[in-house]
């Protein structure tokens, strides 16, 4: 339960975030903030299942579907993103069910699950590249500029509007995170992540619980992809899909810490600021350097700080619990300690 004090802190923080674009209008900084909010939402979506030990490297695929389906429906059929985004979310959800059901039903876990989802994001990238007649292949794809109603086309020119949209979507992600956190599903999923057989014996429907959280996570990730596409108005297979994007999600979530609802957001702030700093520092020679630093940091984090920055900080601040449960020592299988 959220206490009075924390509720007040959230309210003040939110009011400040909403007021920000009206007080501060530097377009570059607003752009960075919008990117941080959209990616935070994507990382939060990933961590919804990641925190229960369901390490998916297929989320690049779901994000790609969200972005490309929305843009393709707009360009080829003239369907507004207001219709296209729900369709893309359904498509990503369907794919999640098709891949998730056999995995969960037949107990494909651990290494196997990671490799299957890894292949999934690779395949989505291949499909986008293969259908280059429609998607532009690896050269990228641009949604057509709207001639009429901007709202209907979900295309806005000013950064303030986009900032508020991204803020709303991000907040929605945080709310869903807390909703899951306080639901019965959380206890079921934590039980599953500790011992599937014991959970099943205790009456938890393992397959159904895993499918539900996977579906939710995939659908939200597709929404993140679609919003990213509408904001940037240019997508390439590499920026919204594939193994690299999936790994980027895992990396940010681990750096921030899956411990707390704001962990993935914290991860997004750190990774995007890092990437921007490197980009400005190296200039046009930055291609590759940011990912090189990412990769080295990811390895170092997993070896030395598997709970993430925010997670480790909170650990220091809180009095140590007696015995850490086994799954809390893992980089991604970290549940929130009882509060």
């Amino acid at each position: 339960m959220i206490g009075q004090g924390r509720l007040a802190a959230w309210a003040v923080g939110l009011a400040a975030l909403v007021a920000l674009p009206f007080l501060y209008r530097d377009p570059y900084h607003l752009h960075i903030l919008v990117l941080i909010l959209i990616w935070s939402f994507a990382y939060t979506s990933w961590s919804m299942m990641g925190r229960f030990g369901l390490v998916s490297l297929g989320h690049g695929g779901f994000m790609g579907i969200g972005a490309y389906v929305t843009a393709l429906l707009w360009n080829h059929l003239g369907w507004s993103p207001w219709i296209g985004i729900p369709i893309s979310m359904v498509a990503a959800g369907a794919l999640a069910l098709i891949v998730g059901y056999p995995c969960f039903r037949f107990r494909i876990t651990g290494h196997y699950f990671v490799l299957v989802t890894l292949a999934l994001s690779g395949i989505v990238l291949q499909v986008i590249t293969a259908t280059r007649d429609y998607t532009g292949g690896s050269l990228g794809y641009t949604p057509n500029r709207a001639s009429g109603n901007k709202l209907l086309a979900l295309q806005f020119d000013d950064k303030t509007t986009w900032y508020l949209i991204a803020l709303g979507v991000w907040l929605f992600g945080i709310v869903v995170w807390h909703w899951v956190d306080r639901s019965m599903a959380r206890y079921a999923l934590e039980a599953i992540s500790e011992d599937e057989d014991a959970a099943a014996a205790a009456g938890v429907d393992v397959t159904a619980e895993k499918l539900k959280i996977t579906l939710l996570s995939a659908v939200m990730t597709a929404l993140a992809g679609a919003i990213y596409c509408q904001y940037q108005m240019f997508i390439t297979p590499d920026t919204v899909s594939g193994i690299a994007v999936s790994l980027q999600m895992v990396f940010a979530a681990i750096v921030g810490g899956l411990f707390v609802s704001l962990g993935p957001t914290f991860g997004a702030v750190i990774t995007i600021l890092l990437a921007e700093t490197l980009r400005i520092g190296f200039g046009t020679k930055a291609v590759g350097w940011d990912n090189l630093v990412y990769g080295v940091l990811l390895v170092l984090f997993i070896i030395f700080l598997p709970k993430g920055i925010l997670g480790s900080l909170l650990d220091r601040l809180k009095p140590q619990r007696k015995v850490p449960r086994a799954h809390e020592q893992e980089a991604v299988q970290i549940a929130r300690p009882g509060t």
């Binding site: 056999p102 037949f106 490799l115 395949i123 291949q126 390895v299 997993i302 070896i303 980089a331």
Partner: protein, 295 residues
């Protein structure tokens, strides 16, 4: 054109695709063998395995194109280099994480994937490069096969037989197999597991290096080339059962046929999509792997 003539041509193409599938299967089996070896012995999945192959392909490119050495001198150097890379990967990344949860090890190799890809981007740029060696095409009846594929297939077979002999005929190989059966007890019996892990990692790297020497004959090298055959290698290993050498071998040829026959009807990418669809179906039928006994 009559129906009969159409069928004749179709059959020739079909046969050609089937044989090309077998030739492709050799290299895929080699990749799967390397990954399975690492998994079977050390219980780690290197998701950066295809990126090691990519580095090997660059090594071949530079030794042959830049230093002007012959292909057959470059190959042993490349195999040695990637073997050292494999051992270094184990020493620097996996060894500190040996007692950590398996998922941490796997994600750490994901970090290495990032590092290798971006290292290649920074060092070599994103241009597509090729060896510039054009091997002749072998005409057999009405069918055409490239020598590159034939050579790759044979070399892959030789590589696999060599690994088999090493694993069954030498003391080190026997010790490695013993470790894969029981990790704890072998240390008590006086086998230096750390050393065995390093040797296995180097061997896995060497197989990636050999695959690089063969793939560079057929494909252009660029920093993201690993993404074209990495996912398929993972699917092969999962379908064959991780750590199961024979399962991986059979699955490699099954997948190669699907890719080759799928590519007959359209682009190669669609072959991959078909392979993935097949994989999903197989998970329903044989969830524990191709060779698992039905419960």
């Amino acid at each position: 054109m009559g129906m009969q003539a159409f069928l004749d041509i179709f059959d020739i193409y079909l046969l050609e695709a089937v044989i090309n599938g077998i030739l492709l299967g050799g290299v895929l089996a080699l990749l799967a063998l390397g990954l399975n070896l690492i998994f079977g012995v050390i219980d780690v999945t290197w998701i950066c395995y295809a990126e090691l192959v990519m580095i090997g392909m660059y090594a071949m490119y530079f030794i042959v194109q830049y230093y002007g050495l012959s292909y057959f001198i470059a190959a042993p150097f490349t195999i040695l280099l990637v073997a050292i890379l494999g051992a270094a990967l184990h020493y620097l990344v996996i060894a500190p994480l040996l007692t950590a949860p398996p998922i941490n090890q796997l994600l750490a190799t994901g970090g290495v994937l990032f590092v290798l890809q971006s290292f290649a981007t920074v060092a070599f740029g994103i241009d597509f490069r090729n060896l510039g060696i054009r091997l002749p095409v072998l005409a057999f009846g009405d069918m055409n096969f490239s020598y590159a594929r034939l050579l790759s297939f044979l070399a892959a077979l030789v590589g696999m037989v060599a690994v088999y002999l090493f694993m069954t005929r030498t003391f080190t190989g026997t010790a490695i197999r013993a470790i894969s059966q029981d990790r704890q007890i072998m240390a008590l019996m006086g086998v230096d597991t750390k050393r065995m892990y390093l040797i296995t990692s180097a061997l896995g790297g060497a197989l990636a290096g050999l695959a690089a020497c063969l793939l560079v004959l057929q494909y252009d090298v660029h920093p993201f080339v690993g993404l074209s055959f990495g996912p398929i290698t993972f699917l092969i290993c999962v379908l064959g059962g991780l750590g199961n050498f024979i399962g991986g071998f059979i699955a490699a040829f099954v997948f190669a046929e699907i890719i080759s026959l799928g590519g007959l009807f359209s682009d190669l990418e669609w072959g991959y999509v078909l392979a993935f669809a097949f994989f999903i179906v197989m998970m329903f039928i044989r969830p524990a792997g191709l060779l698992a006994r039905r419960r």
